[in-house]
Symmetry: C2
Subunit: 358 residues, 2 copies
DNA sequence: GTGAAAGCGCTAACAA
DNA sequence: TTGTTAGCGCTTTCAC
């Protein structure tokens, strides 16, 4: 290693043309797998490419193409801080992406309404869009509309909650089963050896992410902490009001519940309930997604841990993957893996996390 | 919002030239803040830029410049899995970065030897390098050599352990005080209300990161868990053998130590000690940096939590910042913030995290 | 089937 | 102090 030596001047299309004894245009045809080149010529060009170790300069290619990327984020229209964070990241990123000839926008679709989402996807103009990132449930209608869009050459990312059956280009989000397991491990360790009951607040049985979290949670609770009973879920549909209404009954008698796993959105409802009915002994609470509200609850000691995924990373990753799909260029899987973040009040990121630019 | 409308054809340098009634060259001079333009002309151009909402196309600019970036990572030469991970990330990234006309290399310097590091920095050829990322201690000699390099126009990043006094361009790494606090919080919660003593293994008093972790750890232990006594540190110099040698004495009588915070490198020494002297009651162990070894210990239940920072993120972030510094382009602070990751065995990333490409 | 030439948006000699 | 011009690496008409 040592101090870098002089750059060895990467080979260009001109070099290929020279070595393969063809014109630039032909090299380009081969590079882009366009028809109208004799097989023998194609091979000569490939030969030269291999020989020179050529790698295409995507930036120059896009410049010449005048290509622009148009990406759309399809998000549920719901009172939901985390979705708001994502929308905010999209618009924050949009400015910086202009210089990369990339345009990103958001569209909200009625929440918990698979048909509305399917319709919205169906209504998309595949000729005016190179990629779409979708956060929605995995129902047949959604799945089919995505498959159709995909067949029209639009890259489709399932965001936060996977829709594997749709044949989407990629999934961008955490491993929700692992997230559930993590929540269980923390819950068990924080609660210690005393017996008790744990309440799970979930969102919707339609939502794959919620289902998976519950799955992972139950698995680890049953295996590692059998002295803790996990109650049947409160299905809160990410709705704070609904959650606040359901909780009084779900919490049962005073002291019955020693832990709460808020595995879906709607933390406001939980916090409201706790404020109105302060328990004698504070339960261990583990919630999802770092938002202004959950951050405050964590700081105040009401929440004990928050499991989260980075909204900025989510958006950037989706954009990178959609772009790579358009360019047919490779992606760095490790970079695109969304981590299951654990936040305690000690490792909260600075509140100014929203300040951008240098 | 809604489906994106037709791209409005971004303004180019030609448009600016036309509107400002100057030549392309003048526009370029203004854009790049080069001298030799009358103030009045500068203003006319700025006027036009503002009017048109121009944003420069970085890709085109770099293409024209034919600019290449040469970055160097200066890492300690020590038997240290985490440093190896970083070196590996550098070489993995190097391949993909070639298409971005960016060259990154590594150089190892004797560990815990400030003079050697200062000499290495001093020996760098500032004309053959646009940026350097350095992981090393904050001593006067190091600080001065960095300041000198910086003055020669080389971007300098302090990596993992900050060197603020050097005037480095930026620091890339976690907030080590927060990391120490986080470790303490986990330690306290995992140990529960019983009294006991906690051992801290640190690296070197020269290393700012180690110092900061210790600081944060002590703070939270004293404040939130006064029933747990924190022992004076074992100074292991990141050396497994040394640590294994020091531990028998440091652990004291059987059962005296109920928790261990391995705040620096050299986990192999700790694990070796535990294997040779299996304690009756397994202590709660919190270690740093996710490596093959610590991952295995976590999976096996020997470690209870690992606090880490993503080596890939570290390297990519350093490169992005060095490049932004060269281009004088803005950076996204939120994206560059390195998170203090908490790993339990439940949220470990897939082992194949090293597999790259698509 | 193949090639010559113009041009994407920007920069950098070299003139004037 | 300012302008002309020739590229950077790649794509894309439009001829041959």
């Amino acid at each position: 290693m040592g101090t870098p030596d002089d750059p060895p001047a990467n080979p260009t299309v001109n070099d290929i043309a020279r070595v393969a004894r063809v014109s630039l245009a032909t090299v380009d045809r081969v590079l882009n797998a366009r028809p109208g080149v004799r097989q023998i010529t194609v091979e000569r060009v490939h030969q030269a490419i291999a020989e020179l170790g050529y790698v295409r300069d995507t930036a120059a290619a896009n410049l010449a193409r005048g290509r622009t990327y148009r990406f759309l984020f399809l998000l549920p229209a719901a009172r939901n801080e985390f979705i708001d964070l994502i929308e905010r990241e999209v618009s924050d990123l949009a400015a910086g992406l202009k210089r990369d000839r990339t345009q990103i926008t958001c569209q909200r679709v009625p929440a918990f309404d698979p048909m509305a989402l399917a319709d919205a996807v169906g209504a998309l103009d595949a000729t005016a869009l190179e990629g779409v990132a979708i956060f929605g449930p995995e129902t047949p209608s959604v799945r089919d509309s995505i498959a159709r869009l995909n067949a029209q050459g639009v890259a489709v990312i399932s965001l936060i909650s996977d829709i594997p059956s749709s044949g989407r280009t990629a999934y961008v989000g955490i491993d929700n089963i692992a997230a559930g397991r993590t929540a269980a491990q923390l819950m068990g360790r924080f609660l210690g050896p005393a017996e008790g009951a744990v309440l799970v607040i979930t969102g919707s049985m339609l939502a794959r992410d919620h289902l998976e979290r519950r799955l992972g949670f139950d698995e680890v609770m049953a295996r590692d902490f059998p002295h803790l009973k996990v109650r049947a879920s409160v299905e809160g549909r990410d709705d704070p009001d609904l959650i606040a209404r359901l909780l009084p009954h779900a919490m049962g008698a005073e002291g019955e519940i020693c832990g709460i796993y808020a595995s879906a959105a709607g933390n406001a409802g939980l916090l409201q309930h706790l404020e109105r009915n302060p328990p004698l002994r504070a339960p261990v609470i583990i919630a999802h997604e770092l938002t202004p509200l959950s951050r405050a609850a964590l700081t105040a000691g009401v929440f004990d841990a928050v499991i989260s995924q980075d909204a900025g990373h989510l958006v950037r990753s989706a954009v990178r993957i959609m772009r790579a799909d358009c360019d047919q260029s490779p992606i760095n899987l490790a970079q695109e893996r969304i981590r299951t973040d654990i936040y305690l009040k000690e490792n909260l990121p600075p509140e100014t996390g929203l300040l951008k630019g240098a």
